[in-house]
Symmetry: C2
Subunit: 343 residues, 2 copies
């Protein structure tokens, strides 16, 4: 966020890897659109973006009384919250900032400032958490390993560094000779478009594969571990993540390949007992039937396009958090770190 | 094949579902190209196409002696055989026709005629086998079932009717109210382009999904069985099929969903003990990095693109053959039907 000019800047992820374009949003509705249209995506990134959206809403509000300002903020928060249902970071960031705003004792300007301060704090904390996860997670990767990842959980999906990709790039930075299989991640191809691009930028040796090929390589013993991010992890360690993660986790377990999900505590929904209650976003059929405007299916075909799936905890070897690597029993061990962690 | 004009006609499957175009090949090298470039694809269809290719080679040959004609045919057979390595039908059809040609006692014209006759017989038998498989397999589908299929094992992949899709369409024709989930089948999208098109033509209710979503629907109890074709089945019941089949079969088993492969005996390689010896074709990176010429990944990205994978027999509930539904132990039961079946 550029506080001086009152705009939120974000890389337009829909244009990558062909063009690196920065989009500017100067009101919260534009931020909401950017989240909905996936100009910005990735659970931590949309949490941070929503926070900055609320900061813009605080500036935009012409309220002259405290109740009026709180109403304007609450309304903006609901618009931002309604953009995407699955990632918990969105609601988490909004709730955290709204609580802060309500708690301020002071002038309207002080409330507005508190909203911006908290949004900035959330973004800064995200970077810190990712650095901590990268350190903890890199220890799980051995010299010579091939790691498989799905979707994009890199710097683009977060404020910086990344979750799963932060871990992988840290292992590379430490001098471990690793190789990464990148699932292309249909339908939106975040693996092919974003993860491949980030890894190439970072100089990490990698191979792009169709999602369908991941099982073949696991069965052939070519993959030593799977590391993905998450959009929401529940109290029992169930992991909602990009659709296809569940298949990957089942096949990993079947082949004795450890399956890790890298999640900052902002992605852990400790209030939800298990993954069955996580809302799964159904997105536009056109994501499946068209690629860059090119039709790839018969006109009028019926499509179902769930954007996420839930991987039950029994397929999860460990969760990589900013507090360390959490292993089963997840209920107990997640409750412990969430009690200890930042609010 | 149009015997009068000496051309082999085939639907250009690369143009579907947008355009229904028929390609004519008037020499065996064009048939070889059509198989290599996947103008024609599907194990039984490429077996039949190779047979007709050999029939064209017999006509093209200017040989005036028997050894010369047999050399020309053998050379054409090797060109046709080298086009694609995984499907066994290709070699099976060529070997069968070559054996027939060698066994003919008569004039050169009689040898040439025998080659054409055998190619036609292979094509006719394929249709008969598919009808028989459709009848046997349809009994496995109950009224109200949702069936999931991967890739295209329909009329386009065979001479007519189809293997897996023949079974599914027969169940629909019998009046069972079924629904089909169609995996889009990256990278070449045969599900989105061909299977969706065939099912829509046949009026079978269907939903196109990204391959990644198949696990989500199985876990939710929305799929009652998986039916796919095969490119080669070994003596122990291991199934080589379009890449992604293995992941599907593992996840099906994990969810108690029966997994069936519909295979004519021409696809059963009884001489190969198990799937480890099946050559897996590696295809062009461009199938992953481009869609209809549009780039979807960073330039210069490293890609691996295996076209098939092997599903070990422990994930296979049953094989649907023209002789009936074959269940484990596959070694024993496949040996029995292959002994009984046509050569």
């Amino acid at each position: 966020m550029d506080s001086g000019r009152g705009v939120v800047k974000m890389i337009d992820q829909r244009q990558l890897p062909h063009r690196l374009t920065v989009v500017e949003c100067d009101n919260y509705r534009e931020v909401a659109s950017a989240i909905r249209e996936m100009t910005v995506r990735g659970a931590p990134a949309i949490g941070a973006a929503a926070g900055f959206g609320l900061a813009l809403a605080a500036r935009e509000s012409t309220a002259t009384t405290r109740p009026q300002l709180e109403r304007d903020l609450a309304q903006a928060a609901e618009v931002l919250r309604a953009t995407r249902p699955t990632a918990v970071n969105l609601g988490w960031a909004l709730d955290r900032i709204m609580a802060k705003a309500r708690a301020v004792e002071g002038t309207l300007e002080q409330v507005r400032a508190a909203v911006t301060t908290e949004a900035v704090r959330i973004a800064d904390e995200d970077v810190e958490m990712n650095h901590a996860m990268a350190r903890h997670g890199a220890a799980l990767i051995q010299d010579g390993d091939t790691v498989l990842t799905h979707c994009n959980a890199g710097a683009l999906a977060t404020v910086d560094v990344g979750t799963a990709l932060g871990v992988i790039i840290e292992a590379h930075r430490q001098g471990k000779r690793i190789h990464v299989f990148v699932d292309e991640t249909r339908p939106r191809l975040q693996g092919a478009r974003l993860t491949a691009w980030e890894l190439m930028q970072a100089g990490v040796p990698m191979t792009l594969i169709a999602d369908n090929a991941a099982g073949h390589f696991m069965r052939k013993g070519k993959v030593q571990c799977v590391i993905v991010g998450a959009d929401r992890v529940t109290a029992n360690g169930d992991v909602a993540n990009k659709v296809g993660t569940y298949k990957l986790a089942v096949v990993a377990k079947e082949n004795g390949v450890p399956f890790y999900s890298a999640v900052p505590s902002s992605t852990i929904d400790i209030k939800l007992p298990n993954g069955d209650a996580i809302p799964i976003e159904e997105r536009d059929a056109r994501e499946v039937t068209h690629i860059d405007g090119v039709p790839i299916a018969p006109e009028g075909v019926h499509v179902s396009n769930p954007a996420f799936d839930v991987t039950p905890n029994k397929y999860v070897t460990a969760l990589i958090t900013e507090h360390g690597v959490v292993r089963p029993p997840f209920d107990e061990n997640l409750a412990r770190i969430m009690g200890a962690g930042p609010s």
